[in-house]
Amino acid sequence: MHALDRKLLRDFKRLWVQGLAIALVLAAGIAVILMSVGMSRALDDTRAAYYDTNRFAHVFASARRAPLSILPDLRAIEGVAQIEAQVRAYAVLDIPGRAKPATGLLISRPEGEAVLNIPLLRSGHWPETNSEVVVNRPFFDANGFALGDELSVNLNGRKRSLTISGTALSPEFVYTIGPGALMPQNETFGILWLTAEVMDASYGMSGAFNTLGLALLPRTSVAPVKAQVKAVLDPYGATTPQDRSGQQSNAFLDAEITQLRVLAYVLPPVFLLITVFLVSMVMSRIVQLERSEIGLMKAIGYTNLEIALHYLMLAGLIAALGVGIGWLAGSWLALAMARLYAQYFDFPFLVFGVPLSVYAWSAGIGVATTSLGALRAAFAAARLAPAVAMAPPAPPRFQTNLGDRAMAALHLSQPSRMILRALLRWPLRAGMTLLGMALAVAVLVASNFFPDAMEEIIDSAFYQSNRQDMLLLFDPSAPVSAVEDVRRLPGVMQVEPQQYYSARLINGPYEKLVPISSVSASADLARVVDGTGQAIAPDPSGVLLSDRLASALHVTVGDSITVSFESGLRETHQVPVTGVVTQFFGLGAYMDETALNRMFRQSPRLTNVNLTLADPGAAEEFESQIKDFPRLVATINMTENRQSFLDTLSQNILVVTTIYGILGTIITVGVAYNATRVQLSERARELASLRILGFSKGEVAYILAGEVLLLALIAQPVGWALGAGVASLMTSGFSSDLYAIPLVLEPGTFARASLIVLGAATVSVALVARRLNNLDLIAVMKTRE
């Protein structure tokens, strides 16, 4: 080993605490890269592989009842490679030994092999007789079924007992979410595959279909195909065909991938920037301290390049340590994410960990980051003229300026003046130290606002808008008298009928397919609530839109939009936008119930019923009876919905705030510790002189700690502002058609962030200040600087 390399290793060993403090900051950046970039790619790749193998369709269409005879027309559309027609329906399930009703999406299984959205059999066999059913694996597991178990399905009014013959997974249901649910509830929502014969007979679909999947040839433009499919299906009660972005499960996966990518854009640059600064600060100091060694190496005949490389390699060792720790932490984080995905996403195989290429280029980024930081110092070392290097450095120039006059006017003590003068003498360094700690505050603010935002979401969505215990979805043919029948069931307190219609809202080139809900003047259970918690009734003259829907359509109050209903009478109306309301889930649109009935020239009717129950004890009795209710297609237990959302959230928020707390602490320690160490190194002689002159240890520690702690204090408001900015960026980045996160910044968020950063800064500074105890006064005075 070359002597210079040995010097390198020993220098690093001597500097290991400082090196580690920097490496941890770098490691945090690398870890977040591995987790966010790695897992977004892993998720993307896994999904792509699954979709590819199981031929996930490109276009999804549905109709009320379309004859199979039009399939050749659909197949003939240019760009269509394959099609698959099915019959699908929601149904209430009755699971033996369980009071609670469940909801199932029933899918007809074709005679031959499936060609698109091919379900993957996980156990057992496909239904061979009309009394067999295959269920999706998560539903099977959540209910503790065994093959051969039976369950009852309300097949369009006729209850039929089916035997579970197998389990399956499907690319259409990676994120399996029932109607009206916010997250997967596998116990109460299942996918059921039945023979086509049973489905045809039960739903009167012989020779017909109501669901269509289409695969397209490569490089086919989707929009024209959608338009042609719609044209062919239109006479049969078609809804607007959707591409993959409108497919629910796929849309949730998209949202998750987007979140990870937003994280990748926002967080790692912060850590890398701080690493550059820290390496630059420490390396500059090292080069200053090693002036005479640099002079010596030049005298011996080492080239400028060799000397510059020597210092770059020291930074390279920090990179190696940081990348190593970052890989470990990142792999662990990625694994934790993969476990989480296994819980929420139903893939037939594990989501692969971080791709190897991401490991490779994250290491490249690590080395580039520390090299960038060390570049200035390495250049300085290379440029140092040998004769100058051998001589001691000139003392830094201090000048009296405005600041000094201010200090004199304030009658500051000499130690305080030393602190302030150092700040003014090295404004760039002071500025970067301040910025570093401000970024730590910002990271904490930007992560800690999540719980408050969630609280607002929960309050708005569950306790203000949707206050029902249960939501019952009915067949459109259900009579309005069903409300009274429901009211008579045991335990029922409040009942409210409501109507949902699927509709396309169109404003010129902008178009969204959304559910329009009716709101009655007396609505109490399912209300529309604005940002201030006030219930709003939609104006009878028009439609009330959620804010994200309004901005997606580029409309404001007073504009007129085209509403093309895809259920009910399927009419198209021109409707004014009479209001916009802030909402966090979905893209809601609301119309006054009476106005809606008048528009459709219909008597009052319902598609769903909201209800509250007297007490939890009554629920069981109610649930056992509701299962056999006529024309009921699905039940949604909102109380359970709420609970599972809260449970998941509280669990995830604890993990997330802990991780970000660690990240903020790492930044603070990295910045504060290194800044103080460099100070100690620069001021050792000065501080020792003061001790010899009779200053106490405390007074000397004050000078050492004062500068960094003063900067930490000034960094707080800067960090609050930065954090609010980052949080606002993140909320807009996370926003999708599925949900939005409100920007809720409570004073407590800022206080918590500041507490952590000031605490970590104080501990870091104290650790360095302890070294003052070991200050060998005589040795320091003898050292030649």
Binding site: A3, L296, A299, G301, A385
Partner: protein, 238 residues
């Protein structure tokens, strides 16, 4: 000294001016000098007389402001940084007042710093043996006395078998006894290898061991004297 000795260094009107703040300092004010192969020269002068500046220029660590100088037949006055680096690496050994050992490297490794980049070096062990430190090879600078550290520095300087050895106050930080050991080592190297050796010092007592003594004052040569009889380092006392 042999007849018609080979010339190692030659300077013509060598001048060096430093700008310190608003003040111009003439460190060298026209030095004409010739140094010969295998010669041990002592450059004597008060601090500020310009001896270190002269040594730095001869050693390729600094450029003159005016004048010219040659190493053997090669003019180095306008030599590029790269050429000077090459020149230092191949031909010059330095010994400094404060030893300038790398504290994180052992004696052997400090010497290895040179042998790693030199063209035909001796081994670090040989070099340390020459200065009588073969028993201290694996010690770090902090574990050695000042005299020992300076001998490691000499071993490091001679390990590349340089043609010239430039010593800047090599005994300046040492007491008389250890200083004598260091001077003895320098003379031994000079005699054994025929290395031209320049020792600059403000300590007049050292001049007795030189072949020639050059006095500098105010950046100019004040006098040049040839010693007819040389003192052994052991006989030098200060």
């Amino acid at each position: 000294m042999s007849q018609d000795p080979e010339i190692v260094f030659r300077t013509e009107g060598l001048t060096k001016t430093y700008q310190t703040g608003d003040v111009q300092v003439h460190a060298l004010a026209g030095v004409d000098l010739t140094l010969y192969a295998a010669e041990l020269t002592v450059l004597l002068g008060q601090s500020g007389s310009g001896k270190s500046t002269l040594l730095n220029i001869l050693g390729g660590l600094d450029h003159p402001s005016k004048g010219r100088f040659w190493f053997k037949d090669r003019e180095l006055t306008e030599a590029s940084d790269r050429a000077l680096t090459r020149y230092r690496r191949d031909h010059v050994g330095f010994v400094f007042q404060f030893y300038n050992l790398v504290p994180s490297l052992t004696a052997r490794e400090n010497v290895q710093l040179v042998t790693d980049v030199a063209r035909a070096p001796m081994t670090p062990a040989e070099a340390l043996d020459l200065v009588g430190l073969s028993h201290r090879m694996d010690h770090f600078p902090a574990q050695m006395s000042g005299g020992e550290q300076q001998r490691v520095a000499i071993a490091r300087a001679i390990a590349k078998r340089p043609e010239v050895l430039l010593c800047d106050e090599p005994t300046g930080a040492l007491d008389s006894k250890t200083g004598t050991q260091v001077l003895d080592t320098l003379r031994h190297v000079n005699e054994a290898f025929g290395t031209s050796t320049v020792v600059i010092t403000h300590n007049a007592a050292i001049q007795g061991m030189a072949h020639r003594v050059i006095r500098l004052a105010d950046g100019q040569i004040e006098s040049v004297r040839v010693n007819d009889t040389r003192l052994a380092p052991a006989d030098i006392v200060w």
